[in-house]
C-alpha cells in the first residue's frame, strides 16, 4: 500500500513537472519599456492578445518614461521600446555606433492634447481659444480671464468670464505629452522661446506630477488651465476648449479631426511630427507614439511572436481597443508600410545585444 501510494505520488509529481516544463518551453516572454503615454494602450493590447489570441505570448511593458526606455533599447536589455519622440541626437548616434544600423521606429497609434480648464459657470466646449490667446497664456502675456482679448473671442460667454487670475498648469515630470504640446506651441507662437522637449523651462505656471496631478490641480483651482492627453480629459470629464487650427477654423476634438490631422505624408523613417496640421478641419495638437525595434533578433521564435503580436495591434481587434481607449488609430496606408517593415526584420543568432 505504502509503495503504491509513493509510486502514485511520484507519477503525479513527474506528470506535473513535465506539463510545467512543456508549458514553460512554449511561453515566449517579451519585454518592453518606455513612454508612460503609451502604457495604457500597450498593456491593454498585449493583455487582450494574451487572453484571446495566443496565451503563450507574455509581453511585459514597464512604463519608465521615453528617455529611460530608449536607453534600455540602446543597452539591449529589452526587446522593444516605446517613445513619443523619435530617436535623435546623442542617443541615435549611440544606437548606430552599437548596432551599425538605424533603429526601426514604427508608429502604432496617435494621441491628441487638449486644453482643460476650470472656470466657474463655463461648461465643456464653451471656451474658444484662438492661437494668439493660448500663446499669450503659455508665455504669460495674458494673465486674467477677463482680459479684453479673451472676451473678444468669446462673445457668447464674455459676461460669464470670471475676474480671476489665470493659473497655468503644466507637467513637472518629463513627458511625451509635453513634447507634443511644446512642439505645437513652438511652431505657432512667435514669442515662445523655451523650445520643445519632454521637459522645458516654463516661463509661468505651476508644475504637477503626471496627468493625474495636472487634472487634480486644475479641478481644485478656479481659473486654472492646463494641457492633458485627450483620453485623460475624457476619463476625468474635464471641460476642454475649442481651438483655432492653421486654416483658421474653430475645431473641437473628435477622433476624425485628429485622424485627418495625422494623415500627412509619413517620411521613410516614420519620424513624423505634425506640429501644426494644415487641413481645414484638422485638430491642431496631435502626436504619435512609436515602438522602437531592432532590425535583427537573435531568436527566431521570439521574433515571430513579437511580429505577430504587433501586427495584431493594427488589425481590427487591436484598432477597436485603440479607439475604445481614445487613442487615434493609424491610417490604412501607414499600416501597410508598418507590416512591410516588420517583415523585413531578420534573425541573426549573433546579433549584438
Amino acid at each position: 500500500m505504502r509503495t503504491l501510494l509513493s509510486a502514485f505520488s511520484l507519477t503525479a509529481l513527474t506528470v506535473g513537472f513535465l506539463t510545467a516544463t512543456s508549458a514553460q518551453a512554449q511561453t515566449v516572454q517579451i519585454s518592453g519599456a518606455g513612454a508612460t503615454f503609451a502604457a495604457p494602450l500597450l498593456q491593454r493590447w498585449f493583455d487582450a492578445y494574451n487572453r484571446t489570441v495566443d496565451p503563450t505570448v507574455q509581453v511585459s511593458y514597464q512604463s519608465v518614461g521615453s528617455g529611460a526606455g530608449l536607453e534600455q533599447v540602446i543597452n539591449g536589455t529589452v526587446d522593444f521600446g516605446a517613445s513619443e519622440a523619435p530617436f535623435s541626437g546623442a542617443r541615435l548616434e549611440s544606437f548606430r555606433a552599437k548596432y551599425g544600423y538605424d533603429p526601426l521606429q514604427l508608429p502604432l497609434a496617435g494621441g491628441a492634447i487638449e486644453f482643460a480648464y476650470n472656470l466657474p459657470g463655463i461648461e465643456d466646449g464653451e471656451l474658444i481659444l484662438k492661437r494668439k490667446t493660448y500663446c499669450g497664456i503659455v508665455t504669460g502675456e495674458i494673465t486674467r480671464w477677463d482680459d479684453i482679448r479673451i472676451k473678444a473671442e468669446n462673445p457668447g460667454i464674455a459676461n460669464k468670464l470670471p475676474p480671476l487670475d489665470i493659473t497655468w498648469v503644466h507637467r513637472s515630470d518629463g513627458s511625451g505629452t509635453t513634447f507634443v504640446f511644446t512642439n505645437h506651441i513652438r511652431t505657432v507662437c512667435p514669442n515662445w522661446t523655451a523650445g520643445a522637449g519632454t521637459s522645458v523651462e516654463w516661463p509661468v505656471g505651476i508644475g504637477a506630477q503626471g496627468n493625474e496631478g495636472v487634472a487634480a490641480t486644475i479641478k481644485q483651482e478656479p481659473g486654472a488651465i492646463g494641457y492633458v492627453n485627450q483620453s485623460y480629459a475624457k476619463l476625468e470629464k474635464m471641460a476642454t476648449a475649442r481651438l483655432e487650427n492653421k486654416a483658421g477654423n474653430i475645431v473641437e476634438f473628435s477622433t476624425e479631426a485628429a485622424t485627418s490631422a495625422l494623415d500627412a505624408p509619413i517620411p521613410d523613417d516614420f519620424a513624423l511630427l505634425v506640429p501644426d496640421p494644415e487641413g481645414p478641419n484638422d485638430y491642431p495638437i496631435v502626436g504619435l507614439f512609436w515602438v522602437m525595434l531592432y532590425r535583427e533578433y537573435p531568436d527566431q521564435q521570439k521574433l515571430t511572436k513579437l511580429v505577430e503580436a504587433l501586427k495584431w495591434t493594427q488589425g481590427p481587434e487591436g484598432q477597436a481597443i485603440t479607439k475604445e481607449l481614445d487613442y487615434i488609430p493609424m491610417p490604412e496606408a501607414v499600416i501597410q508600410r508598418i507590416f512591410a517593415e516588420l517583415d523585413s526584420i531578420t534573425v541573426n543568432p549573433n546579433a549584438v545585444r
Binding site: A68, S172, D173, E201, W202, G207, T217, E221
Partner: protein
C-alpha cells in the same frame, strides 16, 4: 604565544595545561573572528556608501565638467538648450527643511515631554506613543496624495487670508496663493519628521537618571523649573541629534516635494508661492531625461549629498558642544 608558554613553563601536569590552552585558543579564535566579522560588516556599510558616491559622481562627470561650480549659482534649468543650474532647488530644499523643523521641533519636544513626564496616565500615553510611531509607517506618496486632495483644499482659504492680512511680510507675500507651494511641502515634511524627534527625545528623557529629577524636586524646584533647567539641558545632546536626524530626513524626502511644491524653477522669497527641491527635480525628470540632463540630475544628487554631509558635520559639532556643556 602558545609555543612560548609550553617551552618555558614546567607544568606539573602537562595534559591539563594543554587542555586549558586549547580552550583558551579556541575562545580567542572566536573572539578574533567576531571582531573581524563586525569589522567586515562595518566596512561593508562604508564601502557601499563610497561606491554610491563614486558611481553618482562618475555619472555626473559630464555635467560637472561642463557647468563646474556655476551649476550651484545658475537659476536656469533648460533641457531643450541643455543649460542647467540648481540654485532654485538648493534654496527650495533648504527652506522647506528649515521651515519643517520650525513646525516639528516644538511639536516633537512637547509631545516627548507629555509622554515621559507623567502628565497623563499610562493608558493615555501608550496609544499616543504607538500612533506617533505609526506616522513613520505612512508611505510618503500617500502623504503626498493626502496633501493634494485634502490638505491643499483645506488650508487654501487660511493661506489666502494670511496672505491678504500679513502679505507685507516677504515670506508670506506675493499673489494670492494657489494650491502647491513651499509652505505646504514644509507642513507635510513637519508632520513626517516630528515622529523622529518625538521618539529619540522620548528615549533620551527616559534614559536620564531618575536622581536628576528627584534631586531637583527635592531642592524645591517646581515642575516647570525641573523641566526647563534640569531635564531639557541634561537631554540636550539627544534632542539636538534627533533634530539633525530629522533635518536629514527632510532634506532627502522626495515624493512629497515632487507632488506638492509646484515644481516651479524660480526662487521666490514668499513661502506661499510654488518652488522646487533637488529631490523633486530628480524624481520628476529622471525618466524622460536626455543624456546631459541625466548627468545634470546626478550632479544635483551629488550637491544634495554634500549638503547632507555638511548638515551632519554641523550636527556633530553642535552635539559635541552640548556634551561638553553637560559635563
Amino acid at each position: 604565544m602558545t609555543s612560548a608558554a609550553t617551552g618555558y613553563g614546567s607544568p606539573p601536569n602537562p595534559d591539563i595545561d594543554v587542555d586549558i590552552e586549547k580552550k583558551a585558543s579556541l575562545s580567542r579564535a572566536v573572539d578574533v573572528g567576531f571582531v573581524r566579522l563586525t569589522l567586515a560588516l562595518a566596512g561593508f556599510a562604508g564601502i557601499i556608501l563610497i561606491w554610491v558616491i563614486l558611481q553618482t559622481t562618475e555619472a555626473a562627470l559630464p555635467a560637472i565638467q561642463q557647468f563646474g561650480l556655476g551649476f550651484l549659482v545658475t537659476t536656469r534649468w533648460n533641457p531643450v538648450e541643455n543649460i542647467y543650474g540648481v540654485l532654485p532647488q538648493i534654496y527650495g530644499s533648504l527652506v522647506t527643511s528649515l521651515v519643517a523643523l520650525i513646525f516639528a521641533i516644538p511639536l516633537g519636544i512637547g509631545t516627548a515631554i507629555f509622554l515621559t513626564e507623567g502628565f497623563a496616565p499610562k493608558w493615555v500615553t501608550a496609544p499616543i506613543g504607538f500612533a506617533v510611531e505609526l506616522i513613520v509607517a505612512i508611505p510618503s506618496v500617500v502623504l503626498g496624495l493626502w496633501g493634494i486632495f485634502v490638505l491643499i483644499p483645506a488650508v487654501r482659504p487660511i493661506f489666502r487670508a494670511i496672505n491678504q492680512t500679513l502679505g507685507w511680510i516677504p515670506f508670506l507675500g506675493g499673489p494670492a496663493p494657489r494650491g502647491p507651494s513651499l509652505l505646504i511641502v514644509a507642513v507635510v515634511l513637519g508632520i513626517m519628521i516630528s515622529p523622529i524627534i518625538i521618539s529619540i527625545t522620548r528615549s533620551t528623557f527616559e534614559s536620564l537618571p531618575r536622581s536628576l529629577k528627584e534631586g531637583a524636586l527635592a531642592l524645591g524646584a517646581t515642575r516647570w523649573e525641573t523641566l526647563l533647567t534640569v531635564m531639557i539641558p541634561a537631554g540636550l545632546s539627544g534632542i539636538v541629534s534627533s533634530i539633525m536626524l530629522a533635518l536629514g530626513r527632510a532634506l532627502g524626502e522626495t515624493m512629497v516635494a515632487a507632488m506638492l511644491s509646484g515644481n516651479a524653477n524660480r526662487i521666490n522669497i514668499s513661502l506661499m508661492q510654488p518652488g522646487s527641491t533637488i529631490t523633486g527635480l530628480i524624481a520628476s525628470q529622471f525618466g524622460e531625461a536626455g543624456r546631459l540632463q541625466v548627468s545634470a540630475l546626478m550632479y544635483a544628487g551629488v550637491v544634495l549629498m554634500v549638503l547632507t554631509l555638511l548638515v551632519n558635520i554641523v550636527a556633530e559639532i553642535i552635539i559635541r558642544k552640548f556634551q561638553n556643556l553637560e559635563q
